[in-house]
């Protein structure tokens, strides 16, 4: 029997039992759909995380003031008062793998402009912060070094704050009130979106000179953090060690005692995020593969029933000249068609559900073409694998007994 008539025959045979055929395919549909949805969502999340971390600067180190250990009780981070401006200067001066460092602190404040008001985070830092964070301006400029030395009341707005306070009007040169102090707006930043880990709106921020925030808003001399830029991504691990030993030295921490600061490496976080994504994808792919496997067993089950049911038909076909190969081919092609149709519907189902997730939950979805090809091939392979035994069984029937079968 030639391939195309065998194909038509298989479609017909499956068409005669539409309900059964669709139920048989359901396992494969769910399996393939799950594989695609899982990979799509997993890859989307991973690439989004990578993107966000890259946007923050993958060669960046974050040095934070540490947690205080009071009578054995850790009471949150950003509590120690030992991290100071001189540390930031020393890091740039003494660590060869560091190219820049921006000291900073922060406080939450109510901000008012005209009739509008908005509660936001005020970050106090130095002008190089914008470079270290790789954060361009949408309009206006940064405050200057002089503004920092003079503790000038000038401010740069994040995009979210601009939106809430100014809407469509131009904020440059306008005066806003932070707490009780008037500040002049000198610049507006481009939107950066939510941050990778915490899902925080990074644009919900006002950035002002470090000294201004320290003295006029907080009344504190110490820093909450220092953003450090390593000369390259590869150098970030060396830079981390240099910063750590320098700070331990400067803070006079005896060996064996814990740090009074924390250093986090964004390259590390990027790797961790990527790894987490991979582990997740692998796990979910295994689960989806099990679904596919179960789908395959379903195919075998139904095909065995079908072979038994069609024993007489097989006998007739053999009597009129079908060879063992012809009969085997017929059932294998039925399995193939089940796999093909099930796989295709599964792909559609998987893509559709991924899109639904991305629409509904706002998760990024990225379906790589290999996922579609591989999962469809996998479905077909499974169908053929599990179809082979029933097909063989059909081909081994004795025509005389098959013709007599009731």
């Amino acid at each position: 029997m030639d391939f195309s008539s065998a194909f038509v025959l298989a479609l017909r045979a499956l068409g005669r039992n539409k309900m059964r055929s669709s139920l048989t395919m359901l396992g494969l549909i769910i399996g393939v759909g799950a594989v695609i949805a899982v990979i799509g969502i997993g890859q989307g999340a991973a690439s989004k995380a990578q993107e966000q971390l890259a946007a923050m600067g993958s060669n960046m180190l974050f040095v934070g003031s540490g947690s205080v250990n009071r009578y054995g009780l850790h009471v949150g981070s950003f509590q120690t008062k030992s991290l100071v401006l001189a540390d930031a200067r020393a890091i740039v001066r003494d660590c060869p793998s560091v190219s820049a460092a921006a000291p900073g602190t922060g406080t939450g404040q109510q901000v008012v402009y005209g009739n509008e008001n908005w509660a936001t985070q005020i970050t106090g830092t130095e002008p190089q912060y914008f470079e270290v964070r790789n954060w361009p301006f949408a309009s206006g400029t940064s405050f200057s070094e002089d503004d920092v030395t003079q503790a000038a009341t000038v401010a740069v707005l994040g995009d979210t704050v601009r939106k809430y306070l100014f809407g469509s009007s131009n904020p440059i040169g306008e005066t806003i009130r932070i707490g009780t102090l008037p500040f002049k707006v000198v610049g507006v930043l481009t939107p950066k979106g939510t941050s990778a880990g915490s899902n925080q709106d990074q644009d919900d921020v006002i950035i002002a000179p470090l000294t201004t925030v320290q003295k006029k808003l907080l009344g504190q001399e110490w820093l909450r953090w220092i953003m450090v830029s390593a000369v390259s991504r590869q150098a970030s691990y060396v830079a981390q060690q240099q910063v750590e030993s320098l700070l331990r030295d400067r803070h006079k921490i005896r060996s064996g005692d814990p740090d009074d600061f924390v250093v986090r490496n964004l390259a590390d976080m990027a790797d961790a995020a990527a790894e987490q994504g991979t582990v997740m994808t692998v796990l979910l792919t295994i689960v989806a593969s099990i679904a596919l496997l179960v789908g395959g067993i379903g195919i075998m089950n139904i095909m065995l029933v079908s072979v038994t049911e069609r024993t007489r038909e097989i006998g007739v076909r053999m009597a009129v000249g079908a060879t063992e190969e012809d009969v085997r081919l017929q059932f294998l092609i039925e399995a193939l068609v089940l796999g093909l149709i099930g796989g295709t519907i599964g792909v559609i189902f998987g893509v559709a559900s991924s899109l639904a997730v991305s629409q509904g939950l706002g998760w990024p979805v990225r379906i790589p073409p290999y996922a579609i090809v591989v999962s469809t091939l996998f479905a077909i392979t499974i169908a053929l694998f599990f179809g082979f035994y029933p097909a063989r069984r059909a081909s081994q029937l004795n025509p005389i007994e098959a013709l007599r079968y009731e």
Binding site: M1, A319, V320, G321, A322, T323, L403
Partner: protein
């Protein structure tokens, strides 16, 4: 039997001197649980082209086993079966399938049509396995259906046809590859007497056109429409007689009431 030995098994050319079917000392043993059943105990017979043979006998007499071997569905335990001078007992399963496809047409008691498949497609079935192209398939299937008087039922499903019509579709299916022999296993067993005679009328017409037909039947009336009666008993041929004056089915039909009567 002298002629058998003179025939070479390969490249045999069919001439009037070569029997179409030549079996010699055919034996078939089955293992049925603990006991060994001797279904055929040395059957020798030869059937010439153009013959019309009825095989009769009680159930268990070996006639079905004999038919299965003639139809290349089964192999004898010992003995030789020459079809057109070719020793069939030496062939592989695949070669046997080819012979069933090309040289033998089967008609069964239970019709054995594929359900939910039109008469035309049922008739096309053997050609699926002889790699006949689509157009030829349809043309030849329609011709075969016309031969059995069902040209206008080509698109009907078996469930829409009467028993007699279904059996005629089965006959069309058996004819479509222009076989050497038509083997019919109790073809009238499931049919009423008038329809039985109608089927015999088709067989007689096909036989008159040169087709060799071998049919198994229980009914002596049916055997009367053939040219030769072979009676089996206990795995052996008990009687092999020429039917002196075969009944003409077309004549008998005129005397029978139709369904409407």
């Amino acid at each position: 039997m002298a002629t058998v030995n003179s025939v070479t098994t390969s490249n045999a050319v069919q001439t009037s001197s070569v029997p179409l079917v030549e079996v010699h000392e055919l034996r078939k043993n089955y293992q049925l649980g603990e006991t060994e059943v001797h279904a055929l105990r040395g059957v020798s017979v030869s059937i010439e082209p153009g013959d019309f043979v009825a095989i009769m006998g009680a159930s268990g007499s070996g006639k079905s086993t004999f038919m299965n071997i003639l139809g290349c569905l089964d192999k004898p335990t010992s003995g030789r079966y020459l079809l057109e001078g070719v020793d069939v007992s030496a062939l592989t399963k695949k070669q046997l399938a080819r012979i069933r496809n090309q040289k033998i047409g089967f008609v069964f008691q239970g019709f054995n049509l594929l359900g939910r498949t039109t008469a035309l497609e049922n008739t096309e079935l053997p050609m699926l396995y002889s790699r006949t192209n689509k157009n030829d398939r349809e043309r030849r299937a329609r011709e075969a259906l016309a031969q059995v008087g069902l040209a206008d039922r080509a698109d009907h499903f078996p469930s829409q046809l009467s028993g007699g019509q279904q059996q005629r579709v089965a006959i069309a299916r058996a004819l479509v590859n222009q076989p050497l022999i038509l083997l019919a296993d109790e073809p009238t067993g499931n049919l009423d007497s008038r329809t039985s005679v109608e089927v015999m009328e088709i067989f007689q017409r096909l036989n008159a056109n040169g087709l060799t037909i071998i049919l198994v039947t229980h009914e002596p009336d049916i055997a009367q429409f053939t040219k030769r009666e072979i009676v089996f008993r206990d795995g052996q041929i008990k009687r092999d007689d020429v039917v002196k004056v075969p009944h003409m089915a077309s004549e008998v039909l005129k005397t029978m009431p139709t369904i409407r009567d």
